[in-house]
């Protein structure tokens, strides 16, 4: 079973998973191929894969690989 590190915790990786798939799973919102959420609201999320930012326009074209370190971040209370 392949695993990745997602937001600091191990997570199973199914074959063919893209960054868009991870964002949809974590946020519970469907993501269009453009990287925009299907519900038309603002998403407010950014993704880094192995410390490189993956722009939302490339989420659906970026494959997630075994042992990848993925961080999905958003705005929270602070500051």
């Amino acid at each position: 079973m392949s695993t990745i590190h997602l937001n600091g915790a191990p997570a199973p990786l199914a074959a063919g998973t893209t960054v868009a798939d991870l964002v949809a799973a974590v946020t519970g919102r469907a993501i269009l191929p453009t990287g925009q959420p299907a519900d038309g609201r603002r998403l407010g999320v950014a993704v880094a894969r192995n410390a490189d930012i993956v722009p939302r326009s490339r989420w659906s074209q970026t494959a997630v690989e075994t042992d990848d370190d993925v961080e999905i971040v958003t705005a929270v209370q602070g500051g």
């Binding site: 937001n7 407010g44 939302r56 958003t74």
Partner: protein, 270 residues
Amino acid sequence: MTQALTDKLSQADPFTVAGVALGSRLIMGTGGAPSLDGLGAALVASGTELTTVAMRRYATGGGPGAGTNLFELLLENNIRVLPNTAGCFTAREAVMTAELAREALETDWVKLEVIADEHTLLPDAVELVDATEQLVNRGFKVFAYTNDDPVVALRLEQLGAAAVMPLGAPIGTGLGILNPHNIELIVSRANVPVVLDAGIGTASDAALAMELGCDAVLLATAVTRAQDPVRMAEAFKHAVIGGRLASRAGRIPKRAHALASSAMEGRPDL
């Protein structure tokens, strides 16, 4: 003061920063609020048009969209978001955080906060100067949170910071403005907006900041951890307006001896 008069006054004296004119000189933070609903009410009561948020991992435990609610809360209330780099100790971390924030929130405004240690939460001036230079080069509008050292403040401006934000006292202490002389010195030498950021405890601290010549005030704890955050937010709204008006009204000088306000002539012979 009626809302109409408040609006008219702020339109005549807008707070212009990074090329944008804002109607409120009170920038709010979001740290420390016990609930999102309470935070929303306090932000509205404050009249703020610019509010800071931190960037953290999306927390799935809160349910779908849990992490997005804060961003949407600000959007719904027409409040511009200012992501900050809270929690960063190095320039490298701060730059990465700023890039993530720009991608997530679609703004190139960033409050740059690089702290030296978790105990004092004081800015690390060395990392801060480095990060400011890097972020300005990457096209960010940098709101640089700094200590009250006039030399560092000027250096940050020279590196291209959009605003310089000296602390009044360490974050969350509520001690007010510990070195008003330094704040005044920073203001007198600055050609970018100066925002008093951190250490504010109550309304009079914010009024003083404005009277010292600051262009705006940034606070979070003083509202979010007050016993009545909505009432305190409203207090700060008025304090910032009052302090700004006073700073532009030409106060009387301090005198060593009394000066009668009532004429002695014309007194009846009693």
